[in-house]
Symmetry: C2
Subunit: 141 residues, 2 copies
DNA sequence: TTGCACATGAGAATTATTCTCATGTAGGAT
DNA sequence: ATCCTACATGAGAATAATTCTCATGTGCAA
């Protein structure tokens, strides 16, 4: 139940928060902007202030329930933090996002940080390229 | 000479462009925001419109003379593209930026992209952590 | 059931960046 | 050297994304 998730991280259980969480869990797109969340909620009859959406997302992020990404050029997207850590590859033509996890890269990062005298706390890795989806190929021509 | 760099990439040689390039080459900070560049030019008597700074930076980026970075939370910074490719590690406490290059990571990225059916065109990797600079340590306490 | 700390909505405010448009200028052609 | 034209510039307006303000509403512990 979503109420549990909220309680577990010390947030009051409110309607807006529940709706936002549940939208993130059920949406077809895994990566959504605050605007999109706001609009989709509105369309399904759940009118929630845009400021509230931003506030809730910020709190969810602080609580570790969601992560925030800034892909090149695009606007900030939020993603439900489910399952293990992963990084992203984004198609520069159609915007499709795939996820991946690479143990080698993760380990190298730790080594590099240590070598430079840093205690690693986080990282952001995004690859950009053109995907081989036929539909995407055409969209260029 | 900076005029050469501009001509080589097909940009007219103008005073604002020369001043911005030369500031980037001589500044103590390697990573600068558009605002900072604008302000520093102003302070040294070279008053250049902020819009012009943004325009020039965008052109320099398109021409491959500078790269643009979006470190977490901070605003966009620009860096003169000199020497070989590198990634960054940023101190989350004092904001210090160090550069690094890791062949293993670079190679893994290419492999991963290929596996996922992407033709890699670019990537953004930034590590975040706490640095061990004594001055930084104190700033927390 | 009540009180109060915290949450919400609406719109104003802020911040970063881009656009508009009237005017200026680099640099190729003459 | 001079002229012409396409491109560049400055100033401020416009836009976009996000955060803030503040009056009002509500979860939930006592």
């Amino acid at each position: 139940m979503e109420s549990e998730e909220l309680r577990n991280v010390g947030l009051k259980v409110t309607t807006p928060r529940l709706k936002i969480l549940s939208l993130l869990e059920n949406a077809s797109e895994k990566h959504m902007t605050a605007e999109t969340i706001y609009r989709q909620l509105g369309e399904s009859g759940e009118v929630i202030g845009l400021a509230t959406v931003y506030r809730a997302l910020a709190q969810f992020e602080a609580a570790g329930l969601v992560t925030r990404h800034q892909f090149d050029g695009g606007q900030t997207v939020f993603e439900l933090e489910r399952g293990p850590h992963h990084d992203h590859i984004v198609c520069v033509r159609c915007g499709r996002v795939e996820e991946f996890y690479d143990k080698v890269i993760e380990e190298r990062q730790r080594v590099i940080a240590a070598q430079l005298g840093f205690t690693l706390s986080d990282h952001a890795l995004t690859l950009y390229g053109e995907c081989n989806d036929p539909a995407c190929r055409e969209s260029k021509a």
